[in-house]
């Protein structure tokens, strides 16, 4: 749907996410993202993996063509967190997933 590349966790792509949350701010993600969510973000530094672990996000989609570094992908792999990357913008990515039935965190 998002024409996304899988950066890691290809074997985990059949997991279920309960909701979605799109955000480029760490503090807001911490407060509003719910456990079990799919996190959509343009942040690619290692903090986003730590944040995902903290809020118990199930997977991350990087938007706007952003790609994290190898260290970030390695940490996600260790934590069993699938990472995907799409060239679509955050708004469009969320819109497509919403239309497909995914609801907000």
């Amino acid at each position: 749907m998002l024409h996304a590349d899988v950066l890691c966790g290809a074997d985990l792509l059949d997991i279920e996410v309960t909701c979605g949350f799109g955000c480029d701010l760490i503090s807001d993600s911490l407060c509003f993202a719910r456990p079990g969510c799919l996190l959509l973000t343009g942040l690619t530094n290692v903090q986003i993996i730590r944040l995902a672990e903290m809020v118990e996000a199930r997977a991350i989609v990087f938007v706007r063509g952003k790609r994290p570094g190898e260290d970030v992908i390695k940490l996600a792999r260790e934590k069993g967190l699938p990472l995907l990357a799409t060239d679509l913008f955050l708004f469009e990515s969320c819109g497509i997933l919403y239309q497909a039935g995914l609801r907000s965190s």
Partner: protein, 137 residues
Amino acid sequence: MQLKFQVKGMDFGRAGQAATKIKKALQLAGMDPATIRKAIIIAYEAEMNIVIHAYHGTLTANITPHKVEIIAEDEGPGIPDIPLAMQEGYSTAPPHIREMGFGAGMGLPNIKKSADELDIQSEVNKGTRLWAAVFNN
């Protein structure tokens, strides 16, 4: 139970680890999910405040069945105007910190919202001590 972690200024590679460990301890202790959520917002934001603003510090969690205390003590520049720092959107973080998704000026406001009790003491050019408590209902 007490957990205590050293936190280094500007160490973004490890930042967030202390809060993650505190979360796991709270889950193991069987605390209420709402309590854990609030305590973790406080712990993570307080840890990031040390990383972003201070030279070094400690993050401590005191866990009892009825209450979680989070204490963040640092040596650093201190906060000259605490009420101003408590305002949503007020931030002194430089641009390169903001590019990482931090520095939106929501750290202390989020801590205030999540804490049942909060006390912040700060001395300019010395450091800051933040004490917060969340009651486990």
